[in-house]
Each structure stands twice: as structure tokens, then as C-alpha cells.
């Protein structure tokens, strides 16, 4: 499978400004301390929100094909880069929406692609500069939940792209971000049918991302958000936090991919049901028939005929 291919050296990291590089290396160092050699990040979301661009930004090279107006086929792509013994796998997935529907085929393909892999972190991507959430968002979330189980949301982060924008009139940036992310988190909660207490243990972190080449930069040439944070290290940092947050990583096995086997369900009940049928259904029935036969009053002609017959024979 794709996971078997030898990961390439993470060259793109050198292309970041030195400040970013050092921060990234620091984060990678953390993994070394924990003795973790690889990390798998799954990126999902609606089409056209900037999943592939985010992947490219993080990797630092054009690893996933991006085009503004066309979506790339239905296949997910695995991008793995290794740096001093640590491998970062990022799985970029196609948009899950087509023609107003959640594309089940795409989800199935993704599931099959992920077979025998472990998802450490899920990045759910959406745009920051969209004002409304609608039913489609909920559908996407529930599709993801159906595919990987509720637990995946405990290992997930909400990525908001197009972070560099000026919010509409009468709102400041931070309050806009918080309202937008609240709206989306609510969608995730309802879509994944998570209960309040499920979410209490681990709140989904919010990561802001700006992939555009026009992204502002600070003095040390790092890409920064309007609030001044350098977002690439922040993103990796959050990913790291999630991967260490104590929740179990999602291992995609055959069972998860294929769903529960309907033939296996309730097998144990078969003898019970059989006994029930035999004792409570069949027995009374047979008894009823027998009693009915004995109580039968035969008409005269039949008796005569049978009598004749018996006489003849």
C-alpha cells in the first residue's frame, strides 16, 4: 500500500523562514522525546475549502495538486515526509460534497485507502470567511462520524482557512473567529451526535490557516495571521497536542472499513429463538390440531363411504 513506500526526506522544511524552521524542529524534537516515529494526519472537509493548499503549506512544497476551479479526482493522496527519523504522513482527501450531496463513494474510497492505517489526528477543514453553516456541513460531519466513529472527533482539530480577512462590519476579528468556530463546533457536535459530556473531556481546538501567497509576514518572514501568530508552527503544535491528548488513535481496520457484518449479528440468539419457537409456538399448534381432529363430527355420507370402503377392502 501507499504506506509502504519509503517516505521522502522533508526538504520543504528548509524553505520556511529560519524562525519557523526552528519552531518546527522543536516540535519534532518533542516527538523524539516521546519516542514516536510517525504521525498520520487525515485532512477532510468540503470541496474547495483549501485542504490541499493547507497540506502544501504545511509540507512546504507543492505536494498535492491544487486548482481553483476544478477538483482533483476522487482519490486521496498520501504525502509522507521524514525528517531525522520522524515521519509525518498527511492524507489529503477529495472534497466530500458533490452536487449537493455527500459523496458516499468518495468516503468509501477514503476508507479503503486508509485500511490498516492509524489516524492520529483529523483535521476538519472549513473556511473562516463564510458566514453561515448549513445542512451540508452537518451531513459531512455525520458522514465522517459514520465512517470512522465518534471517537475520531476527540482526535480532531477544526482548521479554518482564509483566516486573513477583515470581518464584516461591526465585528472585530477575534469575536468573528470565535462565533464562526462556535457555529462549526456546534455543527460537529450535532452531526457527530456527541453528548455534552463527550465533548467536555477534550474540546476541539481551532486552528487558523492562511494559505494565500498574500499572507502577511512578520519581521522574521513568517506567515502570520491577523492576530500576529505564526500559523504554521501553531498548526503543527496543535497537531502534536492532539496526538498526545491521551485519546486513542483511530486504527482503521477491516471491520471499520466494511462495517459490521450483518451475518454475524445476533447469531447467539438462534438456539434461543429456536427453543422459543419449539416450545411456545409449535407445541401448542400441534396440540390444537390434534384436539380439533378428535372433535371432528363427520357427516353421515362420509362415514358410510368410509365404512363401504373399509368393508370392500
Amino acid at each position: 500500500m501507499a504506506a509502504l513506500q519509503t517516505p521522502r526526506e522533508w526538504i520543504g522544511i528548509q524553505q520556511f523562514p529560519p524562525a519557523t524552521q526552528s519552531k518546527l524542529l522543536e516540535i519534532l524534537g518533542k516527538y523524539k522525546e516521546e519516542d514516536v516515529s510517525s504521525l498520520t494526519v487525515l485532512v477532510m472537509g468540503k470541496g474547495g475549502v483549501g485542504k490541499s493548499s493547507t497540506v502544501n503549506s504545511v509540507i512546504g512544497e507543492k505536494a498535492a495538486a491544487v486548482s481553483t476551479f476544478q477538483s482533483e479526482g476522487l482519490r486521496p493522496t498520501l504525502v509522507s515526509r521524514s525528517r531525522s527519523g520522524f515521519t509525518l504522513n498527511i492524507i489529503d482527501t477529495p472534497g466530500l460534497i458533490e452536487g449537493g450531496y455527500v459523496n458516499d463513494q468518495a468516503i468509501n474510497i477514503i476508507k479503503r485507502f486508509l485500511l490498516n492505517m492509524t489516524i492520529d489526528v483529523l483535521l476538519y477543514v472549513d473556511r473562516l470567511d463564510v458566514y453561515r453553516v448549513d445542512d451540508l456541513d452537518r451531513q459531512v460531519v455525520s458522514a465522517i462520524t459514520d465512517a470512522f466513529g465518534k471517537e475520531i472527533w476527540k482526535k480532531s482539530a477544526l482548521v479554518l482557512t482564509h483566516a486573513q480577512f477583515s470581518p464584516p462590519d461591526g465585528l472585530n476579528y477575534n469575536s468573528f473567529v470565535s462565533r464562526r468556530s462556535d457555529a462549526l463546533l456546534k455543527v460537529i457536535r450535532t452531526g457527530a451526535q456527541l453528548k455534552k459530556q463527550d465533548m467536555q473531556g477534550s474540546s476541539t481546538p481551532i486552528i487558523l490557516v492562511e494559505n494565500s501567497g498574500r499572507c502577511h509576514k512578520n519581521d522574521s518572514d513568517e506567515k502570520i495571521l491577523p492576530d500576529g501568530t505564526s500559523w504554521i508552527p501553531n498548526l503543527l503544535n496543535t497537531i502534536t497536542e492532539i496526538s498526545f491528548n491521551g485519546n486513542k488513535a483511530i486504527h482503521v481496520d477491516k471491520k471499520l472499513v466494511e462495517g459490521p457484518n450483518p451475518n454475524q449479528r445476533g447469531k447467539r440468539l438462534i438456539p434461543l429463538i429456536f427453543a422459543f419457537q419449539y416450545l411456545l409456538v409449535m407445541k401448542p399448534l400441534v396440540r390444537a390440531i390434534k384436539s380439533d381432529v378428535t372433535r371432528e363430527s363427520k357427516p353421515a355420507w362420509e362415514l358410510r363411504d368410509s365404512g363401504l370402503a373399509s368393508r370392500r377392502s
Partner: protein, 1140 residues
């Protein structure tokens, strides 16, 4: 002067920008991406609405115009030119000086009478070129005049002709130089120059092409008149393009090209010619145009005298742009300028006079333009109007389709006729044109209020479309050229300046779009105030609402709608919303639909399709015909391109609009749709210009543009309503096309001879009538049967014992006897019926009380016999055959209900297609009414067929039948009412005439038929019928002939031949078809049926069928050579056909 130069500089910059814009447009087109900016889009939208190929249309105009084959490219160029020329006009008429006009009125009256001739003479050009640049017109007039002279003295020659003409030009310039110089004018000059230079650059190709072609034509050396006309055309064209100082240059060009003709000018005119020519020039000016032209001259005057620097500069541009083509001309044109200035000193007073003349006529025209026009037209032309043909080139080509042809065909001896005929036609359209002019003025006022100059491409396009529409309407009148943009523009200016005449215009815009794209915010932006509360996170608008307000004094009503949702699962919600919108707009429908989406959202994977489809479902596809696509968040930065660098803003906008347009096209199901796109930015942080208007990254001020687009659509709709042009909205076009009734079909069903409904007891009347013919002759045969010796049928065993010959004899004998027996039976049956009839007649004659009794007795049996038609069973039993599977009982019910079976269906198919019901009623014991209805349904569509027929007998030989049919025709139901009267007065000839009216869809077609049945004798009969069907002025004619030749005693003897012929003529398309069928008995138990048909398109069919009740398999072999022969014959004819 310094000012002037500065202005020119500034404007030059602008001009460059404009040119750049053009170039970028061109690039975009090359990339096959549609509409880089709205102007382009709009243009295309118009194109697409115009029909399949508007350019070809223009090309048509051109062709007629020049009688030259022009390529499509050329016509495109023309289009460009036209655009630019319009721009020029726009500029030059910005300020119109009215005061001068009034003053000069008195003085010139006398002169007017003297130049009448010339004026009337030049009606043609006037009509055609009043759209053209004013300056071009001046010089044009002059050239005309000199040409006039040329005509008068064809023989004479002079070398000075060129100078002469140019001098004249110079005169005009200098004379107008006497005008007052005002700062206003300075600016104008600057602008005029820049625009003209620009137009020169863009229009170069077009000019060059035309000139070249003209050259060829002229050098070919045919009729003088024609040549001159065309040469002139060239000049005109040149004027049109770079009109200010180009007239010098084009003068030279003309010299180069048509030198021979022009040489004569000087000679003929001599000293006097100058005056003459000027006068004529004055006359040439169209009355509708004068104000602007005069103004223009003034401007020019300023430019030449007040600002020499400016003039030269402009000259330079012109030269530069033209340098590539005619290098040797540039020094000359410099000379011309000098000359021009010289002459300005010399011939001042004369020119003044000519100016007065112009003003005079202008005053006349401004009083009543129509009147003056017809006046001048009525005057006899002093010279052939052939010269008029030069004018059209100044116009955008399509506007003059007729005139040149008239001139081309009619020799120059009878031009007056042509003139007159066109004039009368023009008058008919005057009223419409007046109205159209109002619309134009209105639109110009609107655009003025929105701060758009007429050289905005949208404005230009609308004006062009108005002109085109007018021209389409007034196709017959060649005078549609009376566009008079300038007058409209002037009027608009005046009304706007006065500010008292309220603008009778309001526009209703309905805003649709996804939730959260900024519909309400856009409305707030349009009105520049917070009309609706918006919220970034909640659904801001919960219900449909109506917001009215004024934008720049224009009443705008906006319908805000709740946001729509993109998901499929939400479409029922959308539907609900849209239905409420539909209910809301029912009484007050919007003029424009503004579909909003975000520019910075990449809705790919056809994510908007459900939404768009729902909109289409609820409102119908016509909602998109008047829709504008608005892209909000237009100030957002374009995303990074594939190579990591940012893509250009324009490219991004283009691609995004393309995506949405494509989606709309798919949703509307009309691939020709091209919705104009407007950008919208509601963000308060949006960049603004000095006036506080929001400016987009590409420098566009979006709000006026959006409003202008909306208003333009409304204006065009108004104009359409006025002109009743049907083909402007593609939807309508489709509708009318589909509704043309299938006349031939209706006609053939009408021509079909139908049996009349009959009373049950009369069921066999008809045959009887026919068989009456030679009844008497049958008697001997009848007796013959009785006289035969007794005959005993043999059993099978006995048969086997017979020898071959005996067997044959026996069979022959038996057959003969059978025949005779059957005949006798038929006779007896006939007799019996006759008796019954007689009896019935007798009963009727009897007194009442008695007859009732008998009637009752008789009516009972009459009601019972419902003939039960039996399905013909196939020869072998097959459970798959539905005929075997579905049998039905013969009920005594009067309603006869039967299944409709599909015998040729698939194996194991249910084979049950529908139900058929029949019934025969008798109304009042006299009038039979038959009803039969059939409903069939297969996978795709259901068919209903219903037939109601009755007939009334009146008199002895006449009967009238009435019928009503209803059946599916395509997707619609066709209702037919028909009636037919039959005359049975003669035994051998029966005539019938019928009428029918069919309602199909919303079209009614009526038909008439005549039928004649001729019975020559027992063996031969013939039916002829002819008819016509008409609908919407469309007529189809048809006729059929059917002849039948049969055995002497038909039902027994099986020989039967029929010949059928049918002719149908529709749209001049003649279809003739014939078929022949013959049934010949072979031997005792076999039948041969041969059938052939052929139509006039060469398609035909031959079929031969033999059936036999004996085993004759071997005989079939005999058919093989026959088929072979036929096949070879068929192939040979086919090959012959291909050979041809």
C-alpha cells in the same frame, strides 16, 4: 494652450488604458474564456440573445451595402468600428450649444430655398449617416458636392481636384474657428482627440480591409456613379474612424484611389464650385444631427485656431496609427494641415454663409424633424441618388440593408422612384421611432445619472441593440437610419440639466442567492443606507420583503428574499421559500433578477446545481433570461495559481463567472444563455474613490455598473415590447417554433374517408346500395344453383380412393357449388334485409298507436346485437402471444370494452397496452352516435384517443356527419371538430364535402375537403378527395386518389387491386406518394399479395406475400430468382442514383 496640452496628456493616459483594456479583452477571448469583464459578457449575452449569429446578420448588411463579399472577420471589425464611432459621438455631443442655433435662423431663409435641390438630393446620406461623426459629415458633404460636380461634367479633367476638396475642408475648419473659445470647449477638444486616436488604433484593420476592397472595385473601372459612390464610402469610413483631422488624410486616400473621377471637380466648379459645394454640404447634414455637427465644427475650429499644438498632436496620432499602411501619405497630410490653416485666413466670409445655411436647416429640423424630412424627400432629386450609397458605410453596417440594393439594381435614370417608395414606408414607422427615441433618451438620462458616459460599453451596446431592433422592425423602410443618437443625447442632457422633467422609470430587482452571500448587504449598498438589518451568522432575512428607494433620483424597488440552501436535502425548504417569493412577485413581477454568489467561493463539483435547479423548477427557465449574476466579496484577492503565484484578478473573475454562467445554463437548459456578470463589494473597508463610491480591485465602480446593467435590461425589454420583436427572448422563440401545427398530418387525417355512423339496423345499407347496381343480372345464376344435380359430399376415406384426375374434378365441382351456394346465401340475406327495411318503413307509415307497439318489439332486438369483434388468432398456439393469454367475455353490456394488446412486444411481456371502449348510442331512434375511446400507456407516455361521431340524415340522399376527436399529438392534445356532408343523389357518383377545425396547443387550424366517390361498375370504383388546411397563414394542400378494381363477385372471388396516390404540398414542399396493391388468387388455396409503394423522394418498398393452405414450401423456392431480379434492379437504380 498649456491647459490644452495637459488635458491631452491626461486623456492620452486614459486612452492608453482603454486600449489596454481592449487588448486584455482580446486575450481573454483567445483563451476561450468568456467575458473577461462585464462589457464583454454583455456583448456576448446580447449576441446570444440575438439569435444564432448576429455577426452574419451584420455581414449581410455589409454585403448588400457594398455588393462585395465580406468575411465574417470583416464584419466583426465593422462592429468594433461602430463601437468606437459611437464613443466618438458620445464625446462630441457632451456639450451642445443651442444658443447659436436660434440666432442664425432669420438670416438664412433665403438661402435655404436656393439649396433646396441639393438638400433633397442628399436625403439618402442624411438618413443613413446621422449616427456618424459630425465632422465626417461635414467633409462628407463637401465631397459629395464635389462629386456632384464630377457627375455633371464627367469629361472634364483637372489636376487640382484634390487640393480643391481639401481646401474646402480647410475652410470649414477655419470658419468654425470663429467660435468662442471657452474652457469647456478646451476640455472637449482634448477628449475628442483622445478618443478619436484610440478609435483609429482599434479600428485599423477594419479600415484597411475596406479601403483595399474599395480600391479594387474602383480600379476595375465600371460605371462612374457606382465607383464614385464607393470611393466616397471609403472616405466616409475613414472619417468615421479618425474623424477629426483624418478628413484630410482620407481626402488624399481618395485621391490615390479614385483619382480619375475626382480630377474633374475643379474644372466644372471653377470659382463657383466652392460656394456650391459648401451649400450642398450644408444640405447634407441631417436635420436630426445638425446641432452636434455644428458643435463639432466649433470644437474643431478651436482646435485648429486656438490650439494649434493640440491639432498637430492629434494629427500625429493619426499618422502613427496609419503609418504602417500608407507611409507616403503622412508628409502630404502635414501639407494639408498647412493648407488648411492658410485657407482659414482666406475664405472666411463664404464659409460663414454656409454655416448659416446649416443652422437654418437645423432649426427647421428641430421644430419638426419628421415634416422636414418628408418635405425634402418629396422634392425631385437633382441628380441620381446612386451617390447615396456611400453613406451607409458610416453607419454600423446592419442598419442599411435595403438602400444599397435599391441603388444597385435601379439604374440611375430612375432613382426618384426608389426614393419615394422608401419615403412612404418610413413614415409608417415614425411613431414607433418617436417612441423608441424616447426610450433612448430615457436610457441616456439613466446612464447620465449613474455617471456613465455613452462610451461605456454597456451603454453603447444598449444603444446599438436599440438601433438594431429598430432596424429589424423597419426592415422595409430603409430610413431606419434615423437613429439620431445625438439628438437623443442632447435631449437627455437638456432634460437632465433642467432637472424638472421627472424620469418616468422605475426598476424592480429581485435578489436571489444562497444564504450568507450578502443579498441584504448588497441591497443596503445599492441604497447606500442600512435598509435591512444584516447578521453575519444568522439567517438575516426570514421572509420576502420589498424595499423601495431612490438611487440618483431613479426609483428602484428591490425584493429581498431569504437565503437559499445548497444541499439537496434542503431543497424542499428552498422550494417553500421560492414559492413564497413567487406568490409575492405575482402581482408585481420584477424586471431583473439578480442572482448573487460569492466571488471567492469555489463552488465546484456542481455544488450549486440543486439550488439552481430548484429555482428553475419553481419559476421556470425564463427566470434566467433576465438575470444578472452578481458576485459579492469582489474585493477579495484571487487565489494562488497553480504555480504558486497569484493569478490575475481579471482572470479569476472571468473563470468564476464562467463557472456560474455554465451552471445557470445547465440549470435553465438553454445553452445560449449568457447572463451578464456584475461584481459587488459590500464591505465597509472597500476602497472608495473620491466621490465615495466603492471601487473594485480592477478599478471598476461597481454600483453604477450593476444598476446600469439592470436598467439596460429593463430598457431593452421596453423596446422589445414596443417593437414586438419576437425573437429577442430565446424562450419565446422556442415556444413559437414548437407550436407550429403539423398541417400535413392534420390534412391527411381530414382527407381520410370515414364511414358515417349508422343506426344498428342500417348497418349494411351502404353495401346494399352499391350492390343494387346489377342485381337483376344475378337471377339466372341463382336459378343455376337450384338446377344443379344433387351432389353428395365424399368422406375422407372415399376421397383417398379417387384417382388424381377424379379428385381434381371433384374439387372443382365442389368449389363451383360452394361459390354458387354462398352467392345465393348472400342474395337471400340481402333480400331479407330489404324486406325488413320495407317493413320498418311501412310501420312508420302506420297510425301512431299501433306503431308504438311494433316499435317496442323491434327496438329490443335492435339494441341487443352488439357486434363482438374477435381478435384474429395466430396460426399456432403460443402462450407468449397475448392474444391467447387475454381472452375476454362477450358481455351483453352495451359498452364494449376491450384491451389493447401489443402483439409485437417482447416475449413474456405483459402485452397489455391499454383499454379501448366503444359504444353506439341511438338518440331519438334516429341519430346514431358512436363513441370510441382508447387509452394506452407505455413506459414513456400515455396516449388518449377519443372519437365521437354522429350523423344525421336529411332528405333522401343527403346526410351530415359530425365528429369530435381528441388525441395526443406529441405532448399536447389535439381537439378536432369535423363535419361532413354526403350527397348520394346519384347511384354512380357520391360526393362529400367536409370541414374541420383543430385546436392543437394554442393554435387553431381549419381545413376543408371535397371528396367524390365514383362507382363505374361492380368491378371498378374510385375515390378522389382534395383538401386544404390552414393555420396562422400557413397553408397545406393535399389530394388523394384511390382506385379499386375487384373481382366480379367480390367477396367470393378474391381478386382485388387497389391503386392509391397522394399529393401533399406544404411550404412549397411537394410530396407525392403512390402505392399499388394487388391480391391474386393462385389456384384453389393460395393467395398472392403484392404491394409496392414509392414516393417522389425515391424511397419505396416492394413486398410480395404468398399464403397457401396447402403445403407449398417448394413453391417458395420459385420466388428466389424473382427476389434476386428485384434486388439487382433495386441495386442498379441505387447505384445510378449515387452515380448522379
Amino acid at each position: 494652450m498649456g491647459d490644452g496640452v495637459e488635458i491631452v496628456d491626461m486623456l492620452d493616459g486614459e486612452e492608453k488604458k482603454l486600449v489596454n483594456d481592449r487588448i486584455s479583452d482580446g486575450e481573454v477571448e483567445k483563451n476561450e474564456l468568456v467575458g473577461s469583464d462585464e462589457e464583454e459578457v454583455f456583448e456576448e449575452a446580447i449576441d446570444s440573445q440575438e439569435g444564432a449569429k448576429p455577426e452574419s446578420f451584420e455581414a449581410d448588411g455589409l454585403r448588400e451595402d457594398k455588393i462585395l463579399e465580406e468575411t465574417a472577420e470583416n464584419s466583426k471589425d465593422e462592429d468594433d468600428l461602430e463601437e468606437t464611432s459611437r464613443n466618438e459621438r458620445g464625446v462630441e455631443t457632451l456639450k451642445v450649444n443651442y444658443s447659436v442655433v436660434g440666432e442664425s435662423h432669420g438670416e438664412v431663409k433665403l438661402q435655404h430655398t436656393t439649396i433646396k435641390e441639393a438638400e433633397s438630393d442628399l436625403v439618402t446620406p442624411k438618413m443613413n449617416d446621422d449616427q456618424g461623426a459630425a465632422c465626417a459629415e461635414i467633409s462628407y458633404g463637401k465631397i459629395e458636392s464635389s462629386l456632384d460636380v464630377v457627375e455633371n461634367s464627367e469629361e472634364s479633367t483637372s489636376n487640382f481636384a484634390a487640393e480643391d476638396v481639401n481646401l474646402v475642408n480647410g475652410n470649414t475648419h477655419s470658419s468654425s474657428g470663429n467660435g468662442i473659445v471657452s474652457p469647456e470647449n478646451k476640455e472637449l477638444v482634448g477628449e475628442v482627440i483622445s478618443v478619436s486616436a484610440w478609435s483609429e488604433e482599434t479600428g485599423n484593420d477594419g479600415i484597411e480591409n475596406e479601403i483595399l476592397e474599395e480600391k479594387v472595385d474602383v480600379s476595375a473601372g465600371m460605371g462612374t456613379e457606382n465607383k464614385v459612390g464607393e470611393g466616397e464610402g471609403t472616405n466616409k469610413n475613414c472619417f468615421d474612424k479618425g474623424y477629426i483631422c483624418l478628413d484630410n488624410e482620407s481626402g488624399e486616400k481618395r485621391n490615390d484611389e479614385t483619382g480619375a473621377e475626382y480630377n474633374s471637380v475643379k474644372n466644372a466648379s471653377g470659382g463657383k464650385s466652392l460656394n456650391d459645394s459648401i451649400e450642398v454640404a450644408a444640405g447634407t447634414l441631417s436635420p436630426l444631427e445638425k446641432s452636434s455637427s455644428e458643435e463639432n465644427r466649433e470644437i474643431e475650429g478651436h482646435s485648429s485656431s486656438g490650439f494649434p499644438g493640440v491639432t498637430f498632436r492629434e494629427q500625429d496620432t493619426v499618422q502613427n496609427s496609419n503609418g504602417g499602411h500608407d507611409i507616403q501619405q503622412s508628409p502630404q497630410s502635414n501639407k494639408e494641415i498647412e493648407k488648411q490653416q492658410d485657407s482659414s485666413v482666406n475664405i472666411g466670409p463664404e464659409i460663414k454663409e454656409s454655416l448659416h445655411v446649416e443652422r437654418e436647416s437645423e432649426v427647421l429640423s428641430s421644430v419638426s424633424p419628421t415634416e422636414s424630412r418628408s418635405n425634402t424627400a418629396a422634392l425631385p432629386p437633382a441628380r441620381p441618388a446612386g451617390l447615396g450609397r456611400a453613406a451607409p458605410l458610416l453607419e454600423p453596417a446592419p442598419r442599411v440593408p435595403q438602400q444599397p440594393r435599391v441603388n444597385g439594381n435601379v439604374s440611375h435614370n430612375q432613382p426618384q422612384q426608389a426614393e419615394d417608395s422608401t419615403t412612404t414606408e418610413t413614415d409608417e414607422h415614425d411613431e414607433t421611432r418617436e417612441k423608441l427615441q424616447f426610450i433612448r433618451v430615457k436610457f441616456l438620462r439613466l446612464s447620465h445619472r449613474l455617471g456613465q458616459t455613452p462610451h461605456n460599453v454597456v451603454v453603447a451596446q444598449v444603444l446599438y441593440r436599440l438601433g438594431l431592433a429598430e432596424q429589424l422592425r423597419g426592415r422595409n423602410g430603409s430610413r431606419v437610419g434615423a437613429f439620431s443618437f445625438d439628438r437623443a443625447s442632447a435631449m437627455a442632457e437638456q432634460l437632465e440639466a433642467a432637472g424638472q422633467d421627472p424620469l418616468d422609470f422605475s426598476c424592480t430587482i429581485m435578489v436571489l442567492g444562497k444564504s450568507g452571500v450578502g443579498k441584504s448587504a448588497t441591497i443596503n449598498s445599492i441604497f447606500d443606507e442600512l435598509k435591512i438589518r444584516t447578521d453575519a451568522f444568522q439567517m438575516g432575512t426570514k421572509r420576502v420583503q420589498d424595499i423601495e428607494g431612490f438611487v440618483q433620483g431613479i426609483k428602484v424597488r428591490v425584493i429581498d428574499t431569504p437565503g437559499l440552501l445548497p444541499s439537496w436535502s434542503d431543497q424542499h425548504k428552498n422550494e417553500k421559500i421560492l414559492k413564497s417569493v413567487r406568490a409575492f412577485i405575482k402581482k408585481n413581477p420584477p424586471d431583473i433578477v439578480l442572482y448573487l454568489d460569492r466571488l471567492d467561493m469555489q463552488s465546484r463539483d456542481s455544488g450549486d446545481m440543486p439550488l439552481l435547479r430548484t429555482i428553475t423548477d419553481v419559476f421556470g427557465p425564463s427566470i434566467w433570461f433576465n438575470a444578472i449574476v452578481g458576485l459579492t466579496h469582489a474585493a477579495s484577492a484571487p487565489p494562488d495559481g497553480p504555480n504558486g503565484t497569484a493569478s490575475s484578478y481579471d482572470m479569476f473573475v472571468t473563470q468564476r463567472s464562467h463557472v456560474i454562467q455554465q451552471a445557470i445554463r445547465q440549470a435553465a437548459g438553454d445553452m445560449r444563455l449568457m447572463n451578464p456578470v456584475s461584481l459587488v463589494e459590500n464591505h465597509s473597508a472597500c476602497r472608495t474613490n473620491r466621490a465615495g463610491q466603492r471601487v473594485l480591485p480592477n478599478g471598476q465602480v461597481w454600483k453604477p455598473h450593476l444598476l446600469l446593467l439592470s436598467f439596460a435590461s429593463k430598457i431593452l425589454a421596453e423596446a422589445n415590447a414596443l417593437l414586438k420583436l419576437q425573437d429577442n427572448i430565446p424562450g419565446e422563440q422556442f415556444a413559437t417554433r414548437s407550436k407550429a401545427p403539423p398541417l400535413p398530418l392534420l390534412l391527411s387525417s381530414l382527407l381520410q374517408s370515414r364511414p358515417q355512423a349508422k343506426l344498428p339496423e342500417q348497418q349494411y345499407d351502404d353495401e346494399e346500395d352499391e350492390d343494387d347496381l346489377d342485381e337483376s343480372s344475378d337471377f339466372d345464376e341463382e336459378s343455376e344453383y337450384d338446377e344443379l344435380p344433387p351432389f353428395k359430399r365424399l368422406t375422407k376415406a372415399e376421397m383417398a380412393k379417387l384417382s388424381k384426375s377424379q379428385k381434381k374434378e371433384y374439387l372443382d365441382e365442389m368449389e363451383y357449388r360452394e361459390k354458387l351456394f354462398m352467392k345465393r346465401q348472400m342474395k337471400e340475406e340481402r333480400k331479407r334485409r330489404k324486406l325488413l327495411k320495407k317493413f320498418a318503413a311501412e310501420i312508420k307509415d302506420m297510425p301512431n298507436g299501433y306503431s308504438e307497439n311494433v316499435e317496442e318489439e323491434r327496438s329490443e332486438p335492435a339494441a341487443v346485437p352488439v357486434p363482438m369483434p374477435d381478435l384474429s388468432l395466430p396460426a399456432s398456439f403460443d402462450s407468449d402471444n397475448p392474444t391467447h393469454r387475454f381472452r375476454y367475455l362477450d358481455s351483453s353490456n352495451q359498452w364494449l370494452v376491450r384491451p389493447v394488446l401489443e402483439t409485437h412486444g417482447w416475449d413474456h411481456d405483459i402485452g397489455y397496452e391499454g383499454v379501448n371502449a366503444e359504444r353506439l348510442f341511438v338518440v331519438k331512434d334516429k341519430i346514431p352516435v358512436s363513441f370510441s375511446g382508447q387509452v394506452t400507456k407505455d413506459k414513456k407516455d400515455a396516449n388518449v384517443q377519443l372519437e365521437l361521431a354522429s350523423s344525421v340524415k336529411h332528405g333522401d340522399g343527403r346526410s351530415t356527419s359530425l365528429g369530435f376527436d381528441m388525441q395526443n399529438a406529441g405532448k399536447e392534445l389535439a381537439y378536432t371538430v369535423r363535419s361532413e356532408t354526403r350527397f348520394n343523389n346519384f347511384r354512380k357518383n357520391k360526393a362529400a364535402a367536409g370541414l374541420s377545425v383543430t385546436l392543437l396547443g394554442d393554435s387553431v387550424s381549419a381545413g376543408l375537403k371535397v371528396e367524390d366517390k365514383l362507382i363505374a361498375n361492380k368491378r371498378f370504383r374510385m375515390v378522389m378527395s382534395g383538401g386544404a388546411m390552414t393555420s396562422r397563414g400557413d397553408v397545406a394542400y393535399g389530394g388523394t386518389l384511390e382506385a379499386q378494381f375487384r373481382d366480379k363477385d367480390y367477396p367470393l372471388g378474391r381478386f382485388l387491386s387497389t391503386l392509391g396516390l397522394s399529393v401533399m404540398d406544404w411550404h412549397g414542399d411537394l410530396a407525392i406518394g403512390g402505392n399499388i396493391q394487388s391480391q391474386v388468387p393462385i389456384g384453389r388455396s393460395s393467395n398472392l399479395i403484392a404491394r409496392a409503394n414509392l414516393n417522389n423522394r425515391g424511397a419505396g418498398q416492394v413486398s410480395i406475400r404468398v399464403n397457401s393452405s396447402e403445403q407449398l414450401q417448394l413453391a417458395v423456392v420459385a420466388l428466389v430468382p424473382l427476389f434476386k431480379k428485384l434486388l439487382s434492379y433495386y441495386y442498379s437504380t441505387e447505384q445510378m442514383q449515387y452515380g448522379h
